[in-house]
């Protein structure tokens, strides 16, 4: 068990290291830098800036400094908002993203599992068809389509919610729907097919023939095994929520990290782009790691040596 965790941790760090190296050299490949262009800066000022960001150093030195800073969790200074460090930008803007993301994850899990179970229990009934429609829509309609459509109908036409912003609790509804549609679809599908499989398993038949109440069987036997695989979806779901938040925050004017990321991409603020990329990747790695470890605890059948699934 300890070995398993250690190996997973090692791969996590290796992945982050590769990503950091790759982003560093990718950003160095770009001809010029953000300070060239626009207005021609006086040579002295330009040289000063180069010195401040260490651009006058040879490449390998820049790389070593960058890596050294990373180890100390220092992501550098923004190249646009020069008074801000990337750390402080992340700190400030991630609060909103995290709030929205966590709400979306909770809603996805509850609604997804709920829909999945209900549609499995009422297999081929109306509610089942409804769920499969929801699932297909969630998978097929991108968040940047759902968002503006919600804004148009519920924000503008019906006036139920504010079109943008995240000030009141009600403001969470539309961004959450846009963010959670995809994960809900996945979880509902997953839960449904697992539940159907479990309900046909021998031990459920045994339980039924013992004369146990249906609600007890579902509660005690079926549910536990059916929602188990949902845990594996935690990693991909985090990835979906992160990519989704980039779009959804821009659409709903939420000043979160996603919106800032897009802004820094169009501003070519390289240090922020690198920092936020690594930050996102770390969150994702941590989510994956938790999934792997949690799964071993939950499901004793899992082989420790085995690779995680494709999820």
């Amino acid at each position: 068990m300890v070995r398993y965790i250690a190996v997973k941790l090692l791969y996590m760090l290796l992945t982050l290291f590769i990503l950091a190296t790759a982003t560093f050299f990718l950003m160095k490949v770009i001809p010029g830098n953000p300070f060239l262009g626009e207005k021609k800066l006086p040579t002295e000022i330009y040289n000063n800036i180069m010195e401040k960001y260490g651009f006058d150093q040879p490449l390998y030195k820049q790389y070593l400094t960058y890596m050294n800073n990373l180890i100390h969790f220092d992501l550098g200074t923004s190249m646009r908002a020069t008074h801000l460090t990337v750390n402080s930008i992340i700190q400030q803007s991630f609060t909103n993203s995290a709030k929205l993301g966590i709400v979306a994850i909770i809603v996805s899990v509850i609604v997804g599992i709920g829909l999945g179970i209900v549609s499995a229990l009422y297999h081929s009934k109306a509610i089942d068809h409804f769920t499969s429609i929801v699932a297909v829509i969630g998978v097929s309609i991108p968040s940047f389509v759902i968002g503006p459509l919600l804004q148009y109908f519920f924000g503008v036409k019906l006036g139920w919610f504010h079109v943008a912003g995240l000030k009141e609790p009600l403001d969470y509804i539309m961004p959450t729907i846009s963010l959670a549609a995809l994960p809900i679809a996945f979880i509902a599908r997953l839960t449904r097919s697992n539940m159907i499989e479990v309900m046909n398993a021998d031990y459920i038949r045994t339980a039924k023939s013992k004369g146990l109440a249906k609600s007890f069987i579902i509660h005690r036997h079926a549910l536990r095994n059916a929602i188990l695989p949902v845990v594996t979806y935690l990693g991909p779901m985090t990835a979906n929520i992160i990519t989704g938040s980039v779009i959804v925050e821009s659409i709903f004017g939420i000043s979160g990290l996603g919106k800032y990321f897009v802004l820094s991409v169009s501003n070519r603020d390289y240090t922020v782009i690198m920092g936020v990329t690594l930050f996102y990747a770390s969150i994702l790695m941590i989510a994956r790691f938790c999934t792997d470890v949690a799964y071993v605890f939950i499901d004793p059948r899992i082989k420790l040596a085995g690779r995680e699934g494709n999820g």
């Binding site: 991108p142 991409v265 690779r307």
Partner: protein, 318 residues
């Protein structure tokens, strides 16, 4: 004196079988139990199952229409996607401009089908990349196994564990935003899933008894790969391809929506939606048309892909 001991040499002089006991048979002749019904090839079987799935056939027809319209649509009106007409900006749909015009007076009908062309092209390239990199990489992993598999698998895992849209965004930042950049970026990240599916399939197949039988009859690696392993993997490959397309379409529209993809005057559904957002309260049709078309296209690929999966593997249907 006659000897009673059997003499094997005598068998030659008095044969047990006479020449007319044997009949010359044409080498193409096959004999065996008579067929009770027509033999159905695997492909025909898949097609029959697919054909009986109304849902899948409906969405196949929708896909067909979208493909045809992306080619023919632009020819149906006298306009084109790039000409500005500043006297006719933001016109609602009419008999002249079927889908209305945008803020520069460009015909939305033309631009919508231009968007379809771009989406389909991205989908096609993503599928090709899947087919070449994914299938070969996965095939090598699965067939050779062992150390090679382990190393290649780790590499794929590392690539997979980074959100692909982050890689794509990084690449687009480094290179100029264009359709080519998007396709390249998709090529770097998109094939891992396919590789794993092929790997799993090949690993499972190569230990099957009929492969062993073939090998013991003297078949070489090449024959086993091309005769047994690949044909039996085509089903999952096709299904994965069909499901790769909508995610590639999503990625392109996502980037274009953020301004990191296709640049004006070319029209992508992503840029059209992004452009329409600022004025959607007044000119909602500019939002509706690209929104409807991208959703329907992705829906069609997803649902047809599901139908295809059921047709290839009826056991999976639930």
């Amino acid at each position: 004196m006659a000897s009673f001991t059997p003499d094997p040499m005598r068998a030659h002089s008095t044969p047990i079988f006479k020449p007319d006991d044997f009949k010359d048979v044409d080498k193409n002749h096959s004999s065996g139990p008579e067929m009770q019904r027509e033999s159905i090839s695997a492909w025909r079987d898949v097609w029959l199952r697919l054909k009986s799935n109304k849902m899948a056939m409906f969405w196949l027809a929708v896909l067909f229409i979208i493909v045809i319209m992306s080619l023919v649509g632009p020819l149906l009106t006298p306009f084109n996607f790039r000409t500005n007409d500043l006297l006719n900006t933001n016109k609602p749909p009419s008999s002249e401009h079927w889908f209305g015009t945008d803020d520069l007076g460009r015909d939305m009908f033309e631009r919508t089908w231009m968007g379809a062309t771009i989406s389909l092209r991205v989908g096609l390239f993503a599928a090709l990349i899947d087919l070449f990199i994914g299938v070969i990489y996965g095939g090598v992993m699965g067939y050779f196994g062992g150390r090679i598999d382990e190393i290649m698998n780790r590499a794929a895992e590392i690539l997979y564990s980074i959100p692909s849209l982050l890689i794509i965004i990084l690449l687009v930042v480094v290179m100029q935003p264009s359709l080519f950049t998007i396709i390249l970026a998709l090529g770097i990240t998109g094939w891992v899933n396919m590789a794993w599916i092929v790997r799993g399939q090949i690993m499972q197949l190569k230990n099957q008894d009929y492969v062993l039988a073939s090998r013991s009859l003297g078949a070489g690696s090449a024959r086993i790969i091309f005769r047994h392993l690949i044909p039996n993997t085509i089903g999952p490959i096709l299904v994965t391809l069909m499901l790769t397309v909508p995610s590639a379409i999503f990625a392109e529209a996502f980037l274009s929506f953020l301004g990191l993809g296709v640049q004006s005057p070319a029209a992508s559904w992503g840029t059209m939606i992004a452009d329409a957002r600022s004025s959607m309260t007044v000119f909602p049709w500019r939002l509706f048309f690209p929104a409807i078309f991208i959703s329907v296209t992705m829906l069609a690929f997803n649902l047809f892909g599901d139908g295809l999966r059921d047709a290839f593997d009826p056991k999976l249907r639930k």
